[in-house]
């Protein structure tokens, strides 16, 4: 198989709605807003779009089954080839990958990719809707909830590398501060390590300020072939690498301290983009950070540093916006909020804007040329990675 596809693919427009706990807009309305913004930024109209990809994570959150069909109109799919992709939290980066293959294959010249999530419809908390993702025979009788399994993973990661909670808390401090410069952000704040360590324990070692919030929101990008890109913009951002990988559902049989599947996905994307030394060649990255430890876990899985080294880099300031390797300059999920699929695509939008020099107060210095976005999902088992270049 030719991994590079037949055609080079560019992003030419991006849009994101506000991320908030309770938005008045329906999922369709949010999808519409994001799609419209992305089209406007691309200087295109819906009639220029040949195919549409929609990404949304669990149906159970807003209690609408077959959500792809439900959201189709808002996503601009009226009378068009349309598909939904769905790999849990990995969806937000997998949706543009699916859009990439629509265009790279030569089948379409243009593809609109829209991701939407509305978590706040589910009461008292969307957590409860998540209980049905576990194995019905062996795991559900234990009464599992999602925070538990991430706490299990965090604890294993801390144990394996002897990492202290205060070093992990620095991620939450950094990302919430970065989010103060982001107009869409739900939880931008100046907090301290002590605030994180003193916040309510949810499932040890996960505390309130280690976690991103429940959110609503949507994001969208317009993907086009090279020929179209030259017509519509002087400033295309190229999708130079894509990778994705899933691990076994037998999550209790894996060593949770390291995400192998993220490494495999990253290696696939790096090979395609010709990247041999990721920390040196990646100028800015948006790894998935629904929990503070996940940013560190994912930096390691993405080969941006050695195993167990991410907390040290964070402590030294390397991952600050003005550091050598800026990580989550957007504020990430911890700062912006976590409308799951939309949050992943927001990361792709952020890298797009960073590489175009349009990120305003969030702009990382040094004229970044290569950026990376990554998302993670399912039962701690799925990784999706995208490499963008100016």
């Amino acid at each position: 198989m030719d991994m590079f596809g037949k055609k080079r693919v560019a992003i030419v427009g991006a849009g994101v709605t506000l991320f908030r706990r309770n938005l008045k807009e329906t999922g369709k309305e949010l999808a519409y807003h994001a799609a419209k913004m992305a089209l406007e930024q691309a200087g295109m109209e819906l009639r220029d779009i040949q195919s549409v990809v929609m990404g949304s994570a669990p149906d159970a959150f807003d209690g609408v089954h077959m959500k792809g069909e439900y959201l189709a109109d808002g996503a601009g799919a009226y009378h068009k080839p349309y598909m939904r992709v769905f790999v849990g939290g990995g969806t937000g980066v997998f949706a543009p990958i699916a859009g990439w293959w629509h265009v790279a294959s030569g089948q379409f010249d243009t593809c609109l990719v829209v991701c939407e999530e509305k978590m706040s419809s589910c009461y008292p908390h969307p957590q409860y809707a998540f209980t049905t993702i576990f194995d019905p025979i062996l795991e559900r009788p234990i009464g599992m909830n999602l925070i538990w399994i991430f706490a299990l993973e965090m604890n294993r990661y801390m144990h394996k590398h002897n990492i202290k909670k205060e070093d992990i808390a620095l991620v939450s401090v950094k990302n919430k501060r970065n989010a103060l410069d982001n107009p869409i952000a739900q939880l931008g704040a100046n907090i301290t390590v002590e605030d994180v360590l003193n916040s309510e324990i949810m499932a040890w070692p996960v505390q309130r300020l280690d976690v991103s919030p429940t959110s609503d929101g949507a994001a969208a990008v317009v993907l086009v072939s090279e020929d179209v890109a030259k017509e519509v913009t002087d400033n295309p951002i190229w999708i130079d690498g894509v990778g994705w990988c899933i691990d076994s559902t037998h999550w209790t049989n894996r060593d949770l301290y390291y995400p192998d599947y993220v490494e495999y996905a990253a290696r696939m994307a790096y090979k395609m983009a010709g990247i041999k030394n990721p920390p040196k060649e990646i100028d800015v990255a948006e790894p998935y950070d629904p929990f503070d430890y996940k940013e560190l876990h994912h930096m390691e899985g993405l080969l941006l540093c050695k195993k167990g080294e991410a907390p040290k880099l964070t402590k030294e300031g390397v991952t600050q916006r003005d550091g050598d390797l800026p990580i989550c300059p957007s504020g990430g999920l911890l700062g912006c909020g976590n409308p799951i699929a939309a949050a992943g695509l927001m990361k792709v939008c952020e890298i797009f804007w960073q590489l175009r020099g349009e990120a305003g107060k969030r702009q990382v210095p040094g004229d970044p040329r290569t950026g990376l976005a990554q998302a993670w999902g399912d039962l701690m088992q799925y990784g999706s990675v995208i490499v963008l270049r100016r």
Binding site: L23, E25, P124, N145, R156, W204, N253
Partner: protein, 171 residues
């Protein structure tokens, strides 16, 4: 988020709207019922739990002893070719102390859940279960040895809960 974009859409519902009852709620309880098949491998596993034994399956190609058991080895992608029992003792691979219930509401007493690596299974092969009789949760450590506490035989139903929990072993 682009400097070229001046307005980001989205309107929030305010807390007072909830308080003043201006938000419509709908409760929906699905009447769907499910009779899940436990499958070939896990059905045997559950039958053996009734006997107080933990069943594993083995792959002669990669040599793994797997719990929970399966009829195929997902790595070698061939049928597993044996069954064996593993001990009901093991070590805590990782654990969590939950102060929230499945619906994210607060619990008065925390629940401790752990991945237990069972003795005689391949390294890292674990099952998820509760911990009990652990005293102060702050004393629980990864690597601690534990043993299954079983329900009395007459109360076992062939479910994962035939094991009440795992308790730390005094050494």
């Amino acid at each position: 988020m682009s400097v070229k974009i001046k307005h980001f859409p989205g309107e929030e519902i305010e807390t007072k709207d909830f308080r003043e009852g201006k938000v419509l709620f709908e409760s929906f309880r699905s009447k769907a019922r499910y009779a899940w098949s436990a499958g070939i491998a896990v059905s045997r596993f559950l039958e053996e739990l009734k006997n107080g034994r933990i069943l594993a399956s083995t792959c002669s190609k990669c040599g793994r002893i797997m719990v929970p058991p399966r009829i195929y080895c997902e790595k070698c992608f061939k049928p597993t070719d044996g069954w064996t029992y593993v001990k009901d003792t093991g070590i805590i691979n990782t654990f969590s102390v939950s102060f929230i219930a499945a619906d994210a509401s607060r619990l008065k007493e925390p629940v401790v859940v752990a991945v237990i690596e069972l003795d005689d299974a391949s390294p890292g092969m674990g099952i998820v279960h509760w911990l009990g009789e652990y005293g102060d949760w702050r004393e629980i450590k990864i690597g601690m040895r534990v043993q299954a506490v079983w329900k009395p035989p007459e109360e076992r139903t062939g479910a994962i809960t035939d094991i009440k929990y795992f308790k730390p072993l005094k050494e």
